[in-house]
Point group: C2
Protein backbone atom coordinates (compact mmCIF):
# COMPACT_ATOMS: atom_id res chain seq x y z
CA UNK A 1 0.00 0.00 0.00
CA UNK A 2 1.22 3.48 -0.83
CA UNK A 3 1.90 6.08 1.83
CA UNK A 4 -0.30 9.11 2.43
CA UNK A 5 0.69 12.23 0.49
CA UNK A 6 0.37 15.78 1.74
CA UNK A 7 -1.07 18.44 -0.52
CA UNK A 8 1.06 21.27 0.90
CA UNK A 9 4.22 19.20 0.50
CA UNK A 10 3.21 18.36 -3.04
CA UNK A 11 2.80 22.02 -4.00
CA UNK A 12 6.10 22.91 -2.34
CA UNK A 13 7.91 20.43 -4.56
CA UNK A 14 7.51 22.30 -7.84
CA UNK A 15 7.10 25.85 -9.09
CA UNK A 16 6.21 25.78 -12.79
CA UNK A 17 2.67 26.71 -13.80
CA UNK A 18 0.54 24.56 -16.11
CA UNK A 19 2.55 21.42 -15.32
CA UNK A 20 0.22 19.04 -13.49
CA UNK A 21 1.58 16.39 -11.13
CA UNK A 22 -0.25 13.22 -10.11
CA UNK A 23 -1.17 13.41 -6.42
CA UNK A 24 -3.14 10.17 -6.20
CA UNK A 25 -5.03 7.65 -8.30
CA UNK A 26 -8.42 6.06 -7.70
CA UNK A 27 -8.98 3.20 -10.11
CA UNK A 28 -8.47 4.81 -13.52
CA UNK A 29 -8.94 8.40 -12.32
CA UNK A 30 -6.13 10.78 -11.36
CA UNK A 31 -6.13 13.56 -8.78
CA UNK A 32 -3.57 16.15 -9.86
CA UNK A 33 -1.99 19.22 -8.32
CA UNK A 34 -1.30 22.15 -10.60
CA UNK A 35 -0.20 25.77 -10.42
CA UNK A 36 -2.05 28.12 -12.79
CA UNK A 37 -0.78 31.57 -13.71
CA UNK A 38 -1.83 33.61 -16.70
CA UNK A 39 -4.24 32.48 -19.38
CA UNK A 40 -4.37 28.96 -20.79
CA UNK A 41 -5.77 27.97 -24.20
CA UNK A 42 -9.40 27.44 -25.23
CA UNK A 43 -10.16 23.75 -25.44
CA UNK A 44 -12.71 21.11 -24.49
CA UNK A 45 -12.68 17.50 -23.34
CA UNK A 46 -15.29 15.78 -25.50
CA UNK A 47 -15.09 12.56 -23.47
CA UNK A 48 -15.04 13.73 -19.87
CA UNK A 49 -16.03 16.20 -17.19
CA UNK A 50 -13.13 17.98 -15.44
CA UNK A 51 -13.15 19.01 -11.78
CA UNK A 52 -11.28 22.04 -10.42
CA UNK A 53 -10.78 22.50 -6.66
CA UNK A 54 -9.13 25.83 -5.83
CA UNK A 55 -6.77 25.80 -2.89
CA UNK A 56 -5.50 29.38 -3.10
CA UNK A 57 -5.94 32.36 -5.39
CA UNK A 58 -8.77 33.33 -7.71
CA UNK A 59 -9.43 31.36 -10.88
CA UNK A 60 -11.69 32.41 -13.71
CA UNK A 61 -12.88 29.51 -15.83
CA UNK A 62 -14.00 31.12 -19.04
CA UNK A 63 -16.60 29.01 -20.84
CA UNK A 64 -18.45 29.48 -24.10
CA UNK A 65 -21.26 27.79 -25.98
CA UNK A 66 -20.90 26.88 -29.64
CA UNK A 67 -22.73 30.16 -30.46
CA UNK A 68 -20.18 32.14 -28.46
CA UNK A 69 -22.35 32.81 -25.40
CA UNK A 70 -20.11 33.11 -22.36
CA UNK A 71 -20.64 31.37 -19.02
CA UNK A 72 -17.55 32.37 -17.04
CA UNK A 73 -17.29 31.27 -13.42
CA UNK A 74 -14.93 32.66 -10.79
CA UNK A 75 -13.56 30.39 -8.08
CA UNK A 76 -11.83 31.29 -4.83
CA UNK A 77 -10.27 29.13 -2.13
CA UNK A 78 -12.33 26.02 -1.28
CA UNK A 79 -14.51 26.42 -4.38
CA UNK A 80 -15.14 23.36 -6.52
CA UNK A 81 -16.42 23.47 -10.09
CA UNK A 82 -16.92 20.82 -12.76
CA UNK A 83 -16.55 21.79 -16.41
CA UNK A 84 -19.02 19.51 -18.20
CA UNK A 85 -17.71 17.31 -20.98
CA UNK A 86 -17.61 19.05 -24.34
CA UNK A 87 -17.81 22.59 -22.98
CA UNK A 88 -15.16 24.90 -24.39
CA UNK A 89 -13.22 26.51 -21.58
CA UNK A 90 -10.08 28.48 -20.88
CA UNK A 91 -8.77 28.94 -17.31
CA UNK A 92 -7.33 32.34 -16.41
CA UNK A 93 -5.40 33.21 -13.25
CA UNK A 94 -4.29 36.84 -13.04
CA UNK A 95 -2.29 35.89 -9.95
CA UNK A 96 -1.04 32.41 -9.21
CA UNK A 97 -3.66 29.82 -8.33
CA UNK A 98 -3.02 26.46 -6.68
CA UNK A 99 -5.62 23.89 -7.64
CA UNK A 100 -6.47 20.21 -7.61
CA UNK A 101 -7.86 18.55 -10.73
CA UNK A 102 -9.80 15.31 -11.05
CA UNK A 103 -10.29 13.49 -14.32
CA UNK A 104 -9.86 10.07 -15.95
CA UNK A 105 -6.32 8.82 -16.56
CA UNK A 106 -5.01 9.98 -19.90
CA UNK A 107 -6.98 13.23 -20.00
CA UNK A 108 -4.72 15.76 -21.71
CA UNK A 109 -4.55 19.31 -20.32
CA UNK A 110 -5.18 20.93 -23.71
CA UNK A 111 -8.01 18.53 -24.62
CA UNK A 112 -9.03 18.75 -28.26
CA UNK A 113 -6.86 21.82 -28.91
CA UNK A 114 -3.42 20.27 -28.50
CA UNK A 115 -0.46 22.50 -29.32
CA UNK A 116 2.56 23.74 -27.45
CA UNK A 117 0.80 24.10 -24.08
CA UNK A 118 0.22 20.34 -23.94
CA UNK A 119 2.01 18.93 -20.87
CA UNK A 120 2.73 15.33 -19.97
CA UNK A 121 1.38 14.42 -16.56
CA UNK A 122 4.36 14.22 -14.19
CA UNK A 123 4.84 12.24 -11.03
CA UNK A 124 5.39 14.15 -7.80
CA UNK A 125 8.92 12.88 -7.31
CA UNK A 126 9.97 13.66 -10.87
CA UNK B 1 -24.03 24.24 -16.12
CA UNK B 2 -24.06 23.91 -12.35
CA UNK B 3 -22.71 26.61 -10.06
CA UNK B 4 -19.47 26.28 -8.11
CA UNK B 5 -19.82 24.83 -4.62
CA UNK B 6 -17.78 25.83 -1.61
CA UNK B 7 -16.32 23.17 0.65
CA UNK B 8 -16.58 25.27 3.83
CA UNK B 9 -20.20 26.12 3.08
CA UNK B 10 -20.90 22.46 2.43
CA UNK B 11 -19.51 21.38 5.80
CA UNK B 12 -21.42 24.16 7.57
CA UNK B 13 -24.69 22.81 6.20
CA UNK B 14 -24.79 19.59 8.24
CA UNK B 15 -23.54 18.26 11.56
CA UNK B 16 -24.12 14.50 11.68
CA UNK B 17 -21.10 12.22 11.43
CA UNK B 18 -20.91 9.28 8.99
CA UNK B 19 -23.53 10.82 6.69
CA UNK B 20 -21.79 11.65 3.41
CA UNK B 21 -23.12 14.38 1.13
CA UNK B 22 -22.40 14.66 -2.60
CA UNK B 23 -20.23 17.72 -3.24
CA UNK B 24 -19.70 17.22 -6.97
CA UNK B 25 -19.77 14.58 -9.68
CA UNK B 26 -17.26 13.87 -12.44
CA UNK B 27 -18.72 11.45 -14.96
CA UNK B 28 -19.76 8.46 -12.81
CA UNK B 29 -17.57 9.36 -9.83
CA UNK B 30 -18.73 11.30 -6.77
CA UNK B 31 -16.77 13.65 -4.54
CA UNK B 32 -18.37 13.60 -1.09
CA UNK B 33 -18.00 15.59 2.11
CA UNK B 34 -18.29 13.72 5.36
CA UNK B 35 -17.80 14.25 9.09
CA UNK B 36 -16.17 11.35 10.92
CA UNK B 37 -16.28 10.94 14.69
CA UNK B 38 -15.65 7.76 16.61
CA UNK B 39 -14.98 4.37 15.09
CA UNK B 40 -16.69 3.05 11.95
CA UNK B 41 -17.07 -0.62 11.00
CA UNK B 42 -14.54 -2.94 9.38
CA UNK B 43 -15.36 -3.39 5.70
CA UNK B 44 -13.85 -3.44 2.24
CA UNK B 45 -14.83 -2.34 -1.23
CA UNK B 46 -14.01 -5.32 -3.46
CA UNK B 47 -14.66 -3.33 -6.64
CA UNK B 48 -13.00 0.02 -6.03
CA UNK B 49 -10.27 2.10 -4.47
CA UNK B 50 -11.46 4.81 -2.03
CA UNK B 51 -9.76 8.18 -1.57
CA UNK B 52 -9.74 10.11 1.71
CA UNK B 53 -8.66 13.78 1.81
CA UNK B 54 -8.53 15.14 5.36
CA UNK B 55 -9.52 18.75 5.77
CA UNK B 56 -9.31 19.00 9.56
CA UNK B 57 -8.61 16.69 12.47
CA UNK B 58 -6.66 13.46 12.68
CA UNK B 59 -7.96 10.30 11.06
CA UNK B 60 -6.62 6.81 11.61
CA UNK B 61 -7.46 4.43 8.79
CA UNK B 62 -7.03 1.02 10.33
CA UNK B 63 -6.25 -1.62 7.68
CA UNK B 64 -5.62 -5.34 7.91
CA UNK B 65 -4.53 -8.12 5.59
CA UNK B 66 -6.47 -11.39 5.38
CA UNK B 67 -3.96 -12.85 7.87
CA UNK B 68 -4.69 -10.05 10.34
CA UNK B 69 -1.49 -8.06 9.78
CA UNK B 70 -2.22 -4.39 10.44
CA UNK B 71 -1.26 -1.50 8.20
CA UNK B 72 -2.81 1.50 9.94
CA UNK B 73 -2.17 4.96 8.53
CA UNK B 74 -2.73 8.29 10.30
CA UNK B 75 -3.80 11.33 8.32
CA UNK B 76 -3.79 14.98 9.32
CA UNK B 77 -4.98 18.10 7.51
CA UNK B 78 -4.09 18.13 3.79
CA UNK B 79 -3.18 14.45 3.81
CA UNK B 80 -4.55 12.24 1.05
CA UNK B 81 -4.69 8.45 1.18
CA UNK B 82 -6.20 5.82 -1.09
CA UNK B 83 -7.44 2.57 0.43
CA UNK B 84 -6.82 0.00 -2.31
CA UNK B 85 -9.76 -2.05 -3.50
CA UNK B 86 -10.37 -5.13 -1.43
CA UNK B 87 -8.38 -3.99 1.60
CA UNK B 88 -10.27 -4.32 4.88
CA UNK B 89 -10.32 -0.99 6.67
CA UNK B 90 -12.03 0.82 9.52
CA UNK B 91 -11.70 4.61 9.91
CA UNK B 92 -11.35 5.95 13.45
CA UNK B 93 -11.54 9.61 14.51
CA UNK B 94 -11.04 10.18 18.24
CA UNK B 95 -12.01 13.82 17.65
CA UNK B 96 -14.14 15.00 14.76
CA UNK B 97 -12.58 14.85 11.31
CA UNK B 98 -13.82 16.65 8.21
CA UNK B 99 -12.90 14.81 5.04
CA UNK B 100 -13.56 14.54 1.34
CA UNK B 101 -14.10 11.15 -0.27
CA UNK B 102 -13.77 10.15 -3.91
CA UNK B 103 -15.21 6.95 -5.32
CA UNK B 104 -17.43 5.64 -8.11
CA UNK B 105 -21.16 6.43 -7.94
CA UNK B 106 -23.01 3.81 -5.97
CA UNK B 107 -20.14 2.96 -3.63
CA UNK B 108 -21.72 2.20 -0.26
CA UNK B 109 -20.03 3.51 2.89
CA UNK B 110 -20.08 0.13 4.63
CA UNK B 111 -18.90 -1.76 1.53
CA UNK B 112 -19.21 -5.53 1.86
CA UNK B 113 -20.13 -5.32 5.56
CA UNK B 114 -23.52 -3.63 5.29
CA UNK B 115 -25.50 -3.30 8.50
CA UNK B 116 -26.94 -0.44 10.48
CA UNK B 117 -24.12 2.01 9.73
CA UNK B 118 -24.99 1.97 6.03
CA UNK B 119 -25.98 5.50 4.94
CA UNK B 120 -27.63 6.65 1.75
CA UNK B 121 -25.63 9.29 -0.03
CA UNK B 122 -27.42 12.61 0.52
CA UNK B 123 -27.45 15.74 -1.57
CA UNK B 124 -26.05 18.91 -0.04
CA UNK B 125 -29.38 20.70 -0.04
CA UNK B 126 -31.24 17.80 1.50
Amino acid sequence: MADPVNIATAFASFAEPWQPRRLASVNDYDVKVVRLHGEFVWHSHPETDELFLVRSGRLVIQQRDPDGTRHDVELGPDDVYVVPRGVEHCPRADDEVLALLLEPRGTVNTGDAGGERTAELQELDA
